[in-house]
Amino acid sequence: MTELDPATRDALAALILTVADDELVIGYWDSEWTGIAPMLEEDVAMSSVSQDEIGHAAALYAMLGELTGRDPDELAYAREPDAFRHAPLLDHPRTDWAFTIGRRYLYETADAARLQALAGSSYEPLAQLAAKMRREERYHLMHVDAWLRRLAAAGGEVRERLVAALERLGTDALGVLDAPDDEALLLSAGILPEPMASVRARWLERIGGPLGELDLPVPSGGPRPGGRRSHGPDFAWLHGEMTMVSRSEVGATW
């Protein structure tokens, strides 16, 4: 593609930042299950999935570094909480296992629809990375889908907790696929091959079937406007945790 004009480049950088922050923050929340997951095998699986997400974030921050000249480690660990641009879905704490599975299901399916679109981006590095991430996300989807079906079929308190989580998270899940800033610029440059609204429609259509079969609530309502720009006390706590080591000696190398 031809050289990007500054406004389009800024819009592209902002788009990459939203995806990177989503992956970093869900990776950190779910990594909290390390040591306390329902069984040893699941402990390893959830820790490994979380590590994958943080790995995707690292690749996205590196791409952003190439584009803007900013240091990837600084992007991940030296920003204040309100400079993060993750979706409101990821502002909630880990809560319980059903909540984590409910959120992972909503996030992973929305992320899959987003990556499918980004794999067709005219910005070649992004298209290639999205294609690579999709190969790994396939397993994440299989893993969370297996858990969703089991919790839904378990009945009793397990199912109640799952239903409550999906009801609580439905609106915020829509925010994962909100239109990025300056979407028109991204669309005309082909960086986004289609508006996020149509990605969101495809996502809702895709999850409607499985959620319907399990008689689980489907996301509805309108996402919190500007939800990517401000984050509550739960994220402030997580931010403190995830930046603790890097803050302990700024600029340290190892």
Binding site: L40, V44, Y139
Partner: protein
């Protein structure tokens, strides 16, 4: 419990890798992948419910008390016989 077998490359034998605890085959495969396949060390994985395995470990049957060395390839020395056969098979003008 599920016993996990892994193959390192197409055509290699399936080798027992270890075991995972899982409620069913689907999750057992997920966990087998995490334990035995996420570092590109496996080309194929099998999970087998432990109950499906029939076991034989009777020393009377597997380790008989009498000398049975003639049943092992090393128990019958054929080196000199092979050499003699080779000499017979080689035409005299090539010898």
């Amino acid at each position: 419990m599920w016993e996990v077998f892994r193959q390192e490359a197409e055509g290699d034998p399936m080798v027992h890798g270890g075991s995972v605890n899982a409620p069913d085959a689907e999750l057992a495969l997920h966990y087998a992948r995490e334990f035995y396949g996420r570092r590109q060390e496996s080309h194929r994985l099998w999970v087998v419910p432990r109950e499906a395995i029939a076991e034989l470990d009777d020393p009377d049957l597997l380790d008989p008390p009498f000398d049975r060395s003639f049943k092992r390839p090393g128990g019958y020395i054929i080196k000199h016989k092979l050499e003699a056969a080779k000499a017979r098979a080689t035409p005299p003008d090539e010898a």
